[in-house]
């Protein structure tokens, strides 16, 4: 209930005096390490998992975009906030692992998710970066063994997001979004033989944030014979 964060603010305020009197209750448990959710991407190409989910991604440390609520994520807002012109770099290029943005503030991380979804919140938290009120950019490259027609990009994200294939917008998820696999599917697409570059941007206010992405064939079956690299 992200929109209901107001309620938790109220509750937290009422508990504040108690917390001050009993310091033991305020002791924060350790932050789950990055290794609980990701492994460093290897140089060998990866394949989608058994369900076709693409787990290897270049993730940029979160860009600050303060929002106390996800209720503002209308289509117009999201398109403006996640417009390619706002990408901190050259949109369409493949960043290098460890590279920094021009201002040196944010770095790219080449990672393999150990789960079917990519836990952006935990990525940010493990790096000690802001978790709320942020935009995450994600990039990956899939190598298709042949030209594939009538393919659909199937995306789920928390919260809103926009996705591009080879520079063209393929899918957009608006409003206060929850993670649902195959939530939004693109129109019928063509995967080129060889390299296809995927860009994604996920915006989040309060709460957890993650995404999942896979490609489905014309029969709705996951496409697995892809090689995924981020070099």
């Amino acid at each position: 209930m992200k929109i209901g964060s107001t309620r938790w603010i109220v509750m937290a305020a009422s508990l504040a005096p108690l917390a001050a009197a009993t310091p033991a209750l305020t002791r924060e448990p350790p932050v789950p390490p990055l290794a609980d959710f990701f492994q460093p991407a290897t140089t060998a190409a990866a394949a989608p998992d058994a369900d076709g989910f693409i787990r290897r991604w270049l993730l940029l440390e979160p860009v600050s975009k303060p929002n106390p609520t996800n209720a503002v994520f209308t289509g117009s807002y999201v398109r403006a906030a996640l417009a390619p012109r706002n990408f901190p770099g050259r949109f369409g290029a493949v960043p290098r692992d460890g590279a920094a943005t021009a201002d040196g503030a944010l770095r790219w991380h080449a990672l393999d998710s150990t789960l079917w979804d990519v836990k952006l919140f935990n990525f940010a938290q493990a790096l000690g970066k802001p978790k709320y009120g942020v935009i995450f950019w994600a990039v990956t490259v899939i190598d298709s063994p042949r030209e594939m027609h009538d393919v659909r990009m199937a995306v789920g994200s928390n919260s809103a997001s926009v996705w591009w294939l080879n520079g063209a917008e393929a899918a957009a998820l608006f409003d206060d979004r929850r993670m649902v696999m195959d939530d939004v599917l693109s129109d019928r697409l063509t995967l080129k033989k060889g390299r296809n570059i995927i860009y994604g941007a996920v915006i989040n206010g309060p709460g957890l944030s993650d995404f999942c992405l896979r490609f489905l064939d014309a029969d709705g079956e996951p496409i697995r014979d892809l090689a995924i690299a981020v070099q």
Partner: protein
Amino acid sequence: MTRFIRPTLGLSLALACQSPAAAQLAGEVFIHDPSTVVESDGKWFTFGTRGGGLVSTDGWTWASGPVRPGGGVAPDVVKIGERYYVAWAVGGGGMSGGHASDVKIMWTKSLDPSSPDFEYHEVGTVASSDGVENNDAIDPAFLYHDGRLWLSYGTYFGSIRLVELDPESGRRLEGNEPVDIAIDMEATALLYRDGWYYLLGTHGTCCDGPNSTYNIRVGRSRDVRGPYVDNMGIPLLKGGGKLVAAAHGRMIGAGHFGRIELGGGIEKMSLHYEADMERSGRSVLAIEPLLWRDGWPVAGRNLDPGTYEIQSARSGNALQLKVDFVRIPFDARASFMAKPGDPVKPVPGQSLADVGATWPKDAVRVDLSAYMVRPNQHWTITPVPEAGGWFGAPYYKITVAGTRRALAATPADEVEAVPTFTGADAELWRIDQLTDGSYRITPKTHADADLALVAIGASTPTLARFDPQSDAGRWRFVRP
């Protein structure tokens, strides 16, 4: 074997006249005791009492013209291999005061008089009543299942009986004796589904126009020979029968059931109404959805015109114009903090006037989202009978309520709302009720390719091949 002379009467669908706007089906729909609707030579045929019949290429517009020699009453038709077997009855029925009758069989390789294969061959009599016994050998009905051919017949004058025929010849199997399977019925029909044999028949009074009390009832049995019982366990031999179809609206006196299996999860039933009140109270053909609930056939209904939420059976999400969500002005914090005794007042819902001006003027894509009782989620369903129809239902336009924005198929097989309904085929939709009561929504332009509106994602609709086993292509129309 008697060979009938090949009639030369031509069919002329072009002569079909327009139907009254509120009535079901178009064209010349006048018939009594229609036989099971069957396809031959790319057309659909049904035959009635006295020798005539109706033909259609789409199940919506019907014309007279088919030929069934032999006269008599209440025929039925079944296709086995290359042959169309036709059963009909001569005599009986209480007409002229008698119940002596013969059920006869003939066959032809085509029902279309324009086909070179159209030639009836008479097989002979397969069942009779002598006029004294408690049986009236009329109203025959076929069931061909598992390689065996069965025939039911009879009226209120005694029992409904069952005999077995040879599917190779159409003759009665040697030594086969009739079995009594019901009373208080006429115009029976047999069907098989999921391990059950169903005996449908008509209760009530026939042939009295708007005062006819005809209604269709059913019982079922694991054995084709019975005993057939209804949903309360009452044997059909003791007058039982669960209601399937009855009068509704301007249609009075439902009788003479026939099953039409159209594939793609769609079953319909042919029947006649003793009186179509929009057509001078005459007896007419009707085709309506057939549903199955708890193992029983139930009459469905074509979608009533009106404004609905169109809900995906896949996700429960509502079909909507994909426009910016507009918040209803509301102080959530004040609401949470309100005391139980604080006065309350109605909060206005969001209206089209509140948000319509913010929508793009051009075509807008549609998607699926949680139903919020919002103007972009309400669709007005309007029949467009002048555009034709398909098996008992006219084509519909689907417009955003209060606007002219119309749901349309795109050339890329996606779905959008165009700014104004123009009547183009891409803006016309079939809405067919499926056997579970939900609906299949099929664009006129894509019906031949068997594409329908399908939720391929929780939030994404498209035009895709319809899978009758999946909720992805099932939709429910919910009143706001």
